[in-house]
Symmetry: C2
Subunit: 475 residues, 2 copies
Amino acid sequence: MEEYTAQRRVCIVGAGLVGALASVYFAQRGWHVDVFDTRPDPRVSQDSAHNQQRSINLAISTRGITALKQVGLGLAEEVLQAAIPMHGRMIHGLTGHQSSQAYGVFGQCINSFERKRLNISLLDAAESFSNVTMHFGYTLRACDLDQGAAKFEVRATGQEYVVTVDLIVGADGAYSTCRRQLMRRTRMDYSQTYISHDYCELTIPARQNEHGEQEYAMDPNHLHIWPRHTFMMIALPNKDRTFTCTLFMPKEQFEAIATPESLLAFYQTHFPDAIALIGRDQLTHGFFANPRGALMSVKCTPYHYQDKMVILGDAAHCMVPFYGQGMNCGFEDIQVLFRILDELQVTTTVPPPGQAKAVDSQWHSQMQRALDCYTRTRHRDAVAICDLAMYNYIEMRSSVVSWQYLFRKKLEDGLHKLFPSLIIPLYTMVSFTQIPYHKAIERHERQTRWLTRGLMGVGVVTTAALAALVRCYRK
Amino acid sequence: MEEYTAQRRVCIVGAGLVGALASVYFAQRGWHVDVFDTRPDPRVSQDSAHNQQRSINLAISTRGITALKQVGLGLAEEVLQAAIPMHGRMIHGLTGHQSSQAYGVFGQCINSFERKRLNISLLDAAESFSNVTMHFGYTLRACDLDQGAAKFEVRATGQEYVVTVDLIVGADGAYSTCRRQLMRRTRMDYSQTYISHDYCELTIPARQNEHGEQEYAMDPNHLHIWPRHTFMMIALPNKDRTFTCTLFMPKEQFEAIATPESLLAFYQTHFPDAIALIGRDQLTHGFFANPRGALMSVKCTPYHYQDKMVILGDAAHCMVPFYGQGMNCGFEDIQVLFRILDELQVTTTVPPPGQAKAVDSQWHSQMQRALDCYTRTRHRDAVAICDLAMYNYIEMRSSVVSWQYLFRKKLEDGLHKLFPSLIIPLYTMVSFTQIPYHKAIERHERQTRWLTRGLMGVGVVTTAALAALVRCYRK
């Protein structure tokens, strides 16, 4: 058999979580991979400026883990080793009372881990392939999509650097430059919406126990929530026994708190138990010094241009963080894309010069078909999870303490235990299965109809029985 | 009284219809006005490249006319003089049968006129003010919104030109650069949606009558529609006795017509009467040679940044053309903005050096209050008309021939005649009044409820009466 010399080339813009994992997938299939990021290499840089507006910890669940497992290399195991399992929500009442709500009836958990650490693992994994080259400090300036050319500015020198490739992958996040380039060449339906709430991160330090050891100040195996209806605070555990708290609140409410005194009064009223946990000084320092972030939701379609560009992760669908699915969905994007590429048998070798032309044009049309298919199948799922994430903010900050919610959760959890494949709670479908997001919503709606009818049926029968009983008694 | 020497400066980006009219409004209030446009001056240039994707004729109705009347200068009269009144829709059936549907029960009309001619009138009106300067061939490159600075590239020389002003007005159309600049500094909610239909313009030439005179080939006082459910063609009269036809159709359907034969077969099936009107050769030439446009709807908010920038017209709300309100709404934007500026008594003179600081900061906060108010009040109306325009496409291409639509139109028109201020048809409210768009929708929905209840009431009474009659008869 003839040995081919040249490989298809892909240029991945963005070396964050999704870009780094995508580079591993492409590398494993034999592509010649160049990864570019405007930021410095997180493995050598102490500069955390680029992390300022990003949450430092994330929760990985089934979709993310499955995408990691698929590459092998012990990546999934490494991540789970370094993560802290959270089996449920811990609801903090106004009196400091805590009550646990399990995420799944079979003890499933989501896993809190440090964003930077996973990023480094993924970059190391990518660089272990000889066909991957990383370029840090390169800012994308423009693309010539028809030529497959991407023009970067080298930040250190200001010089221009151009690569011409078979495929450009945009994994450059919520404010994606690739998406903007795509918008110029496609009729893109696009929407971005800011919610009226901002967020601010605070830290609950580890505390010393009686033996002088550092320990968690709260149960580490829960995601802690202080739901206060129109705003909330949450806390996720870190490996160093601290918690990262995030306060979500309307912008105006943040602005109304202008002094340490008013901050403490606010916490005294709404999160009294958190003052001791965070510490007065850290609370006031953190609240006024830490950056405040905005929360945006982005939907768009198509995700691709012909056979030349595709966008993945936050670049394609940026969601509010309330379902903990942003990264999981981004990782699943990669899985879905490669399932399609594999199914359509898109090869990675460039045909030898002799038979180049026909084979080449066939490759391009195959690649275009794959990307068409990707946009078509993935868009409805991305829209579904963006909507769910938006809805879940109401659930987290308010519904979790309503009796209707708790009643339905109990009922659905009970039925799920009895008929595991017939009735599956929405949260379980989203976090602990790979059921496509849009199908999970459809199924949830169907289940809601069944439950409503069932409950009404019970109501009718009970009423009839009671009426019969009353009649018997009267006679 | 002390004489002030300096005036507030405004820079208007875009010298199209909305930009040109806005410059007149600003000039009349004494602002120092600079208008910039990337295109050449339409009054001296034969270059129609910038018009390629724009419809050459438009319909002006009450909102647009009122905004023109407010400046005086005989502008409204001049426009109406040059326009052709259209009193209703002329529906073309498959057999060539034509039926007229009046727009208003009191003989109101919308007015077809040439875009370029109105643009020239407005530019002439603006330049008649000594405080207005026009700059053609200047492309906006960037804004420093905090400084109120706008940087242009002079197309002829490639040089940079910077102005620093009190207010930047973005009237630079659907693909607005100002809006993009605004997006970088505000948390803008933004959505753009392409409809699946493209459009293509064709011409119906004038015909010679028996006396050898040029005359209109169809009734000139109607907007002609060939509604074909999933697509349609319309025609608007021009002053030179031609009609401009626009064919709206799904992109795929356009692409499916690849040869003159298939085009003629298509017209033979769907628009048989139009073949003779347009002429076989002009039809095939026009269809394949004229550019095909996409149709996009854009909504966004806010429209302003502090006291420094505001966007108007298509830059702020781009709608599909099916309600004929795009320009009317843009003109009304200007009226609404100036009503607020006048109400808040935003002055246009710069305070003399002595008292500069305090007065100046007061001016800025007043201006910001005005722009805040503008975004708040105008956004819901812009959203309302964008939605109505989208809905009206279905009405124009399909509903106009359904009996339900015709029945309701007859009923509502009749009631409007009887009770002119109690029941007003939606089209009348939108096109022939200045009722804010969002209130027009609310009122339309209320009327729908009344009509439905009324009809049901009639139904109930009739049924009861019939039943009584039957009973009488049986006895």
